[in-house]
């Protein structure tokens, strides 16, 4: 097995409930995503899929355990360094695409570059958008793009800083069946071309079965088991 891009060991995460008690959401003894690997992570609603992605990406700090991204245990980093590591090594794709509405397609990609290197590369941003078939929509704002085009901008943005892995949170949940396959193909093909690992969170078995590795969160998350 090649070096893991993402490695989780004994990761626990709980949230305070309105009544004061804590609810365990994650209790993951181990999880590994190798370089270039593509995996689908299935789980029921509320099973902790999104929380797992937030913990891996450093947006959330776990209560316990190690989260190693590109060889660095991010639980030992302060928030600023986690932000920097996330910008440098991970690309995120969201369910609602979450493009910045005031920015054009190319600017959405440039913004992501700004937070990583501080030196936005317009030529690369343009090339990425051309690679996902949006060379003719560079200067359109999200509201002027179709759902499929917006998702393609989100994929190009996720690739902006040459990440080692892309984490996609329900990328097909808010689009119709015709576009779902396009998005899955786009993500898989693009990650293959760029040698980027891909972890797609989905509750859709049709999406999950297209991936060489298929995981169910309930199988390795001990939280909530009585």
């Amino acid at each position: 097995m090649t070096d893991p891009v993402i490695l989780l060991e004994n990761v626990r995460k709980s949230f305070a409930m309105p009544g004061g008690e804590r609810a365990d959401v994650l209790d993951v003894p181990g999880f590994v995503l190798a370089r270039g690997e593509q995996a689908a992570l299935e789980g029921t609603s509320g099973s902790g899929k999104s929380t797992l992605l937030h913990v891996i990406s450093g947006i959330m700090r776990p209560d316990a355990g190690r989260v190693v991204v590109a060889g660095t245990d991010i639980t030992r980093l302060d928030e600023g360094r986690r932000d920097r590591l996330r910008a440098d090594t991970l690309g995120l794709v969201f369910q609602q695409f979450n493009l910045l509405p005031g920015f054009t397609a190319v600017e959405n990609v440039l913004v992501a570059m700004s937070f990583a290197t501080g030196k936005p590369d317009r030529a690369r941003a343009t090339a990425l958008l051309e690679a996902v078939g949006l060379g003719h929509r560079l200067h359109h704002k999200p509201a002027e793009l179709s759902i499929g085009q917006q998702q393609r901008v989100a994929v190009a943005r996720a690739l902006a800083n040459r990440p080692l892995a892309i984490l996609a949170d329900e990328p097909t949940a808010s689009i119709d069946a015709a576009h779902q396959q396009q998005v899955v193909d786009l993500l898989r093909n693009t990650c293959t071309e760029h040698g980027v690992a891909l972890l797609v969170v989905t509750h859709d078995p049709d999406v999950a079965r297209q991936f060489p590795r298929r995981l169910r969160l309930e199988d390795f998350n001990r939280a909530g088991r009585s």
Partner: protein
Amino acid sequence: MTLFGIAWRNIRQRLLTSGLTALSLALGVALVVATLVIGGVVRDAFASGSGLGYNLIVGAKGSPLQLVLNSVYLVSKPIENISWDFYQEFLPADTRSDGTAGRFAGSVATAVPICMGDYYRSFRVVGTNTAYFDRLSLGDGRSFSFAGGRNFRAQEFFGGVLGSTVAATLGLSVGDRFAPTHGADDGLEHDPFIVTGILARTDTPVDRGVYVNMEGFYLQEGHARPVVAGESAAASEMPAPDQAGGSGTASHPDPLPFAQREVTAILVETASPAGMPAELLAMGLKTTINEGQAGQAAEPVREIRTLLDLFVRPLELLLLLLTTLVVIVSAIGILVSMVGSSLERSRDVAVMRALGARRSHVLTTVLLEAVLLAVGGGLAGWLLGHGIVAAIGPLITTNAGVSAGFFSAAPLGELLLVPFLVVLAVLAALLPALAAYRTDVAKWL
């Protein structure tokens, strides 16, 4: 893309809200700028009038400020008149009928009488003699010059000189006739005077005056002092022919006897004897006059300084305070606008944070937005403020006698306005910036 660029994009994204916020700020800044500039212009107007080549004004006992305002700035009412005999005390021997020097003549370089009380279409009419324009000078030492025509001559009883504003406003030119009215615009109409000259613009209150030969002024109805019993001999004493030039005909009437004359004030330029500063002499002369009963002496510069300190500056400060409050309220508009868009912003902030933006990036971006709004609104307000000054410039020129236009400036105040605005904007944006700083990323993704 820089943080500056991101901030600019955010402003454009909320164009209507941002535009209204900037507009509100612009209006506040325009008021401050207009207040600062007009305040400066008014101060300049007083400063320019307080040094018109004479350093003392002698008039009837009463308020020295009123004496100065009336004599120099041609506003307010005259206090009372002073006697012709008292005026004579300021004249040298060669200009007096008795051939002896007046009591104060040794301390005086020039004494110019003025008689007031008449109007010509809202402008004040000043009866004086030729010395006003021949002997007095503007504060900076320049002599009066004429844009057209010349000073009236002593023999031209019905000659008059117009200030530049009067001529421009009323459309009068050399050779035209004008008939002053007594006491008010709707008062008794006097005999007409002929314009012999129009003064070049001085940017002083002189521009707003109508100056007529006092010999003609004295001959108008209501201008002769009634002769009381026991004064008959003195009343018959007439000015020498070479002094007044009358011939007793309708076109060249006899001048008014001295005993029936009064003057409203005397503009005095004190002498500068070798080794003695004129100010010292002026102070001594002022003290001597004020100790007597015949009249009072006032120093225009001192009175105007008092006026500025007591009334103008506090008023200006009050206006500045009010307009500054308007700016502060406008700055609160920035806060309201940003708080109002905080929900929308939270999602964007969460996305940016997920893309790797640090909290400091987010904080800086929000503050930059506020600074951009402040600078944009401030710049627009600055232009608008100067536009207001330019628009009301003619009104200021007419009423204050000084020019005020787009390029009139209050450099210090205006320069301080920029950092003030930026600090204000940053303070106003601090709350939404901190809210953005603390955005819960996971919650908004």
